[in-house]
């Protein structure tokens, strides 16, 4: 029932047999057998656009392929409702927002309207993010409801969190993406890391020909080491810091720097950062600033595969999907010592975390000048990602939570 623009030919659990760690595909089958006859419902706020919808498009067919009767429903709301939930979203992520009684009422009214229309007859119901959270009033005694929070609620606006907490507390459990996001709640809180799909356009294998053609498309030289950072042009991703670090490296090593980011056209702040980045590049012919469209997945994939060292020098970060993507491609990653990056990178084993420009520059030089060490680190990174950050582990985590909550 997921509909849409996905490549169904690879959306089978068996397609991951030679990609997932040995035994994991069979483990998925055996766990699913224990869940035979049980039903699962996912509910979120949009079918298209955004990371949660993208993830559900890939997860739901795999649950179905494993024999779990899985549905995915989407709530409906007026533009006013989505304006309110955007305010909620920002407030929960720590931005100051003014929330009025009328806004809360709009939020609850839309929930009640959706609650009357939707079928919640399922053994396990997973509600994603704050938008549909009040639907928990429809919870039936026999079913288990889990609230899956994808956003960073570590420092929320207190009044908004207190309002939401009353609903979250009625769930059987809450799922967070990082330990930092956990709250003091009277229900079990689970940790489930996000994941990447090794069969998606952004992560699937590419031929050398394809990789070289994409480098040629952007006039990126293939005869010198490439340092890459993939992230939107945002001050918290510190692209200016990456350029500074590159300039320190360039005194010792001939290399090029690619900064590939999402379109900043509708984001004034992003446009400003992009302009600052262009100015900082100072017509250096070895710096390539790529403002890519949102669907440039193959291009990002090719750049990550062509890179010698991948940087994610964030100053603030949740779970770094681009870190996991680069690690999966066997690249040593140098990441800022913040948020989920400190969980993803095992220092000195699967990459390096750094606290300064100087540290970043030093580690780039270290890796450029020790290719065998860098290769081994990249291998470790790939194996670590295979076990911990692929969609196969994500599915197993959800199945395990179903078993635990249904007491099977």
């Amino acid at each position: 029932m997921t509909g849409g623009r996905m490549d169904k030919s690879v959306m089978t659990w068996e397609a991951y047999r030679n990609i997932a760690p040995p035994g994991m595909v069979d483990l998925g089958h055996r766990i699913s057998e224990r869940l035979k006859g049980k039903t699962l419902l996912h509910v979120n706020s949009t079918r298209w656009g955004g990371g949660v919808a993208e993830m559900l498009h890939r997860l739901v067919p795999l649950f179905q392929d494993l024999g779990i009767d899985t549905r995915w429903d989407v709530i409906e709301g007026s533009p006013e409702f989505y304006q309110v939930t955007k305010g909620f979203h920002n407030a929960l992520q720590g931005q100051a927002q003014t929330m009025t009684t009328q806004m809360y009422e709009t939020y609850l009214k839309t929930s009640r309207k959706n609650g009357r229309k939707m079928d919640f007859n399922s053994d396990v119901v997973v509600i994603h993010d704050p938008q549909p959270a009040p639907l928990v009033y429809k919870k039936k005694k026999h079913s288990k409801w889990l609230w899956r929070c994808h956003i960073d609620v570590s420092r929320p606006q207190r009044n908004v969190w207190n309002f939401l907490k009353d609903y979250v507390s009625k769930y059987d459990g809450a799922i967070f993406s990082l330990p930092d996001f956990a709250k003091r709640l009277n229900i079990p809180q689970y940790l489930v890391y996000p994941s990447i799909d090794p069969l998606s356009d952004k992560n699937k294998e590419l031929s050398e020909k394809k990789i070289f053609s994409i480098l040629a498309k952007y006039n990126i030289p293939s005869d010198k080491p490439m340092i890459l950072q993939v992230s939107r042009f945002d001050q918290f991703k510190d692209p200016l810091g990456v350029i500074e670090a590159y300039k320190m490296v360039k005194k010792f090593n001939d290399c090029c720097l690619v900064l590939a980011g999402g379109s900043a056209a509708d984001d004034p702040e992003g446009m400003q950062v992009l302009n600052d980045v262009k100015n900082a590049a100072e017509k250096d012919e070895d710096i390539f600033i790529l403002d890519l469209p949102p669907d440039a997945n193959i291009e990002i994939n090719a750049l990550q595969r062509a890179a010698t060292v991948v940087i994610q020098k964030s100053l603030r970060e949740g779970f770094g999907l681009t870190v996991a993507e680069a690690m999966w491609k066997g690249k040593p990653v140098i990441g800022g010592f913040v948020g989920g990056i400190t969980v993803q990178i095992v220092y000195g084993q699967t990459g390096f975390t750094v606290n300064s420009l100087e540290g970043c520059a030093y580690r780039i030089r270290h890796l450029l000048n020790n290719p065998e060490f860098a290769r081994k680190m990249g291998q470790n990174a790939k194996e670590f990602t295979r076990r911990n950050f692929l969609i196969t582990r994500h599915i197993i985590d959800y199945l395990s939570l179903m078993i635990a909550n249904l007491n099977l």
């Binding site: 055996r30 330990p179 930092d180 095992v346 194996e383």
Partner: protein
């Protein structure tokens, strides 16, 4: 003869919402933590790092060295290794004593400046039988080579401490069912905390090979399969699924 049935495991990670920003708070957190949290932070490293031997074999030491940047305490915490005669309460006491002695000596309370707090976690383990069983050492060796590494974790660490059997399931079976006391002792003698799960599997396989009188030259996942699949009438050679 009682067969050995391999059982994988999956771990559900639970967040407690409790955290520490300095070494004093860490000590208090450990003192008051549920005992399963002590187990989690002393062992779950293995389930996250199947191939990597980390800087230190427990989360407490790794947090102190990486986030607080106090190598002295990290080294002392890394030396705390669960052993045959220790239960989890003994380990908790030892952790608290080591931190307390350290803080008394240095007379300051090192805290996180640039790093992340220590987040107290907990875990539930769900056992998932593999349908793979072994009736003798040859079958055991063959099966151990192909099961998911979580089975190694389950039969070694879970069995010893959380299930409180005192020894690994492997050692118990070798001695009580096969009568191979020397092999059982040798398996128990492996310093499990110094290996990744894959490394530990390789060590146990090597001991089995010695017992079988002739080390195998075959790689871990390339072994011809001799074990039995429960409920598989045709016994097709062991595709474990």
């Amino acid at each position: 003869m009682k067969e050995f049935i391999f059982t994988d495991c999956v771990e559900i990670k639970e967040l407690t919402g409790r955290k520490a920003d300095d070494e004093m708070m860490l000590m208090e957190l450990i003192e008051n933590a549920p005992i399963d949290s002590i187990y989690y932070h002393m062992h779950s490293f293995f389930l996250r790092h199947f191939y990597i031997v980390g800087p230190y074999p427990n989360d407490f030491a790794n947090w102190v060295v990486m986030q607080v940047r106090d190598r002295v305490l990290a080294e002392k915490l890394s030396a705390i290794t669960p052993a045959k005669n220790k239960n989890l309460e003994d380990i908790r006491d030892e952790l608290v004593e080591v931190i307390d002695a350290h803080l008394t000596t240095i007379k300051t309370n090192p805290s996180v400046i640039y790093g992340q707090p220590f987040y107290l976690m907990n875990s539930k383990i769900i056992e998932i039988p593999t349908r793979i069983e072994a009736k003798n050492l040859k079958e055991f060796r063959s099966a151990l080579a192909v099961v998911d590494a979580s089975a190694v974790y389950n039969h070694v660490f879970e069995a010893r401490l959380r299930v409180r059997r005192g020894r690994s399931d492997f050692a118990i079976w070798f001695e009580e069912v096969l009568g191979l006391k020397n092999l059982a002792d040798a398996v128990e003698h492996i310093d499990s905390y110094m290996y990744s799960l894959e490394g530990l599997r390789a060590e146990i396989l090597s001991l089995c090979d010695k017992e079988l009188k002739g080390p195998s030259k075959i790689g871990i996942f390339d072994e011809p399969r001799h074990f039995t699949l429960i409920g598989n009438d045709e016994n097709d050679g062991g595709k474990n699924g």
